[in-house]
């Protein structure tokens, strides 16, 4: 199982999720170019750049068709693979897929991100601070601009594999309507909501997310 992190994050915040799956499944969390400990261009890659890198990595490490668990903007990277590398794309768990097309502006997304901080475990903040430093502001904002412009809703119909859209009930970044729309647009997708959790289920509700991932592993 491969985990794909969101904007400015890295493999680190997937640890609780990986722990709750071990030892039943082998969980791998790569850092996309420019994030965590992987080097990348200072101006950031666009969504296609990131998804190409991910697809190449999946290919050369022999991981075609594995279950992909993506958080936040990582979902956009995974969905984009359906455009150019459908052969690599396996079942997916889209945890808090961005960007809500009804709120496609930097100001609104920024405000929502800040709001979300209230619903997450405080330790996540510390963990992400380190990741944000690794990423750097220039790359962060450049990548953010690319993600904001990315029309994910027009690629969802290309995702042929089974998909679960996971949303924390208290997640302000991904409102219920948008998550439902995403699930609707996916050819074989369904929405699962987790009570009391925010945007980052892999950190704040790893058990529930692991349960969904396990379902996809079995099918």
């Amino acid at each position: 199982m491969v985990c794909i992190h969101g904007l400015g994050c890295s493999h680190r915040y997937f640890l609780p999720f990986a722990q709750s799956l071990a030892p039943a499944a082998r969980v791998v969390a790569p850092d996309l170019p420019g994030f965590g400990r992987t080097k990348g261009p200072l101006d950031g890659l666009d969504v296609r750049g990131l998804s190409r890198a991910l697809a190449d990595w999946l290919r050369v490490t022999g991981r075609r068709g594995v279950v992909l668990v993506a958080n936040s903007t990582g979902c956009q990277v995974v969905v984009d693979m359906a455009v150019h590398a459908p052969d690599v794309l396996g079942p997916v768990v889209l945890n808090g897929p961005t960007m809500d097309r009804h709120a496609r502006s930097a100001a609104r997304q920024g405000a929502r991100l800040v709001m979300n901080g209230l619903f997450e475990r405080p330790s996540l903040g510390l963990l992400l601070a380190r990741d944000y430093i690794d990423c750097g502001p220039r790359r962060y904002f450049a990548t953010f601009a690319h993600k904001l412009a990315d029309p994910i809703e027009r690629k969802l119909h290309l995702v042929a594999s089974p998909a679960i859209v996971a949303r924390g009930r208290r997640d302000p970044i991904v409102p219920h309507e948008w998550a439902a729309e995403v699930a609707e647009l996916l050819p074989s997708g369904r929405l699962v909501e987790v009570r009391g959790a925010g945007h980052t289920l892999n950190y704040s509700a790893p058990g529930e997310l692991a349960q969904m991932a396990r379902e996809l592993l079995e099918c």
Binding site: V83, A149, R154, L158
Partner: protein, 464 residues
């Protein structure tokens, strides 16, 4: 000489660049004054064109030199950066229609009417060349071949055409060499533009000009083209003749004929022609996102002018704008903003040469007569073979206009060595009477309706 320009590599007088700039500015509610580069001012233009003839000629040469990229920088030429620059000229959209493909001024006005941005297949990059003689075709080909190959190798998504036309571009060739980059793949910037800024269910209009030319390969995806679409026929570039000998003598050339290298294939014409390789990419993308793909195929870039003029007339009538005024533009001295503000019907000429003259004549012979006809002509810096004198133009429009005919924005004493030409056309357009608010854009369906109801048959244009 310092290079004043917005983008690192594009050439300011290139047709594609001017299409992009004019549209980008139109969507911001601005006009295309001074090729969107400088002011449009008659006084400034007069000042610039006041020195004696020889100095003005030098001015054209200097313009070429200032546009050329020094040879040591040729290795940095990046087609993708140019594409990114193109996409940056437009707002975030979403647009209902995007026009892509061959450059043509008629296509510009169509795109303007549709409110559609244009993504050119071909862009021009000029490199400095103070060494080769304009009439030494083989010498120029060999001298530039390493640079052409270098650019082609660094840019696998384009083919590179070294275009060498001593008839039309002579003053420019004295200081630079034309490198035209023709996209064979969409590339990331264009792809992203279509993914992100074309509205769902939108239309891609693909302009395809079928014009080809004799060319010679100098490397992989690297070609040399001698001559270009203009006043001299393609055969004349190779077979020469009395007219060419006279021209060379008048220009003080040591030669009396051209000896171009033996061509090895016909390829898409460097500046205007469409290379179908790009079509595959566009089709794939359109299918993936469910866009409608509409091809607009023409034999020559100018073939679209009659259709677009008639379409404007039809559209103006429908929305209640008087449609009896025709504005004839040539080369890049166009301004979609003023065309729409004034409610004039645009007819675009590719250049100021005989073939353009004949096309305008044919159009006026068959079109419902116009009340007023205004004509503007581009100045390229010399009497190249085929340039039609102003008197003849004036006679033509005078004989066809029902009320008024006028050549505007041309310094008749200086033409065609009018160094101020690019600053003169926009004030002249602006000075025309009657203004309207810019009408809301048409849709692609309107073109369908227009073509269905049109009694005329545009034989050299296909809408498929």
């Amino acid at each position: 000489m310092p290079r004043v320009r917005a983008a690192r590599f594009v050439t300011d007088f290139d047709s594609s660049v001017n299409m992009v700039r004019a549209l980008g500015r139109l969507f911001e509610g601005k006009d295309h004054s001074g090729l969107s580069m400088g002011p449009g001012s008659r006084r400034l233009a007069n000042l610039v064109s006041s020195p004696p003839r020889a100095l003005r000629r030098l001015g054209f040469v200097g313009m070429g030199a200032s546009q050329g990229i020094p040879l040591d920088r040729a290795r940095f030429i990046d087609a993708e950066e140019i594409a990114r620059w193109v996409t940056q000229q437009y707002g975030l959209g979403p647009f209902d229609t995007v026009v892509i493909g061959s450059c043509t001024g008629a296509g510009l006005h169509l795109a303007a009417a549709l409110g559609a941005p244009f993504l050119p297949q071909t862009t021009l990059v000029a490199v400095r060349d103070f060494a080769t003689h304009p009439d030494d075709a083989v010498g120029a080909m060999h001298a530039l071949a390493p640079t052409v190959r270098l650019i082609a190798r660094n840019n696998p998504e384009v083919s590179v055409y070294h275009m060498h036309d001593p008839a039309q571009d002579r003053p420019m060739l004295q200081a630079m060499a034309y490198m035209r980059l023709k996209r064979l793949r969409l590339g990331r910037a264009y792809e992203r533009f279509l993914e992100e800024r074309l509205a769902p269910g939108g239309t891609i209009i693909q302009l395809e000009c079928e014009r080809t030319w004799r060319t010679r390969a100098v490397g992989e995806r690297a070609h040399f083209q001698f001559g270009a679409l203009g006043g001299v026929a393609e055969e004349e570039y190779h077979d020469n003749g009395a007219r060419i000998a006279e021209y060379l003598e008048a220009e003080g050339s040591p030669r009396r004929k051209w000896e171009p290298p033996e061509p090895d294939a016909r390829r898409a014409e460097a500046e205007w022609g469409w290379d179908p390789a790009l079509g595959e990419d566009v089709e794939r993308l359109a299918r993936r996102y469910g866009y409608r793909l509409q091809r607009l195929v023409m034999e020559e870039p100018q073939d679209l002018s009659a259709l677009v003029a008639d379409f404007h007339r039809w559209w103006y009538r429908r929305i209640g704008v008087p449609s009896g005024r025709l504005l004839v533009e040539s080369y890049v001295q166009w301004d979609p903003y003023w065309v729409l503000r004034l409610g004039v019907v645009p007819f675009w000429l590719r250049f100021n040469m005989q073939p353009s003259y004949e096309d305008l004549q044919t159009y006026l012979n068959h079109a419902e007569p116009y009340d007023d006809i205004y004509l503007n002509l581009f100045s390229q810096g010399l009497w190249s073979p085929g340039v039609v004198p102003l008197e003849k133009w004036r006679e033509l429009i005078k004989s066809k206009a029902r009320e008024h005919a006028e050549i505007i924005g041309v310094d008749e004493k200086a033409y065609p060595l009018d160094t101020g030409s690019t600053m003169r056309y926009q004030p002249a357009f602006e000075a025309l009477p009657f203004r309207h608010p810019i009408p809301p854009p048409v849709t692609v369906d309107d073109i369908d309706v227009f073509l269905e109801n049109s009694r005329k048959d545009y034989a050299r244009v296909r809408w498929v």
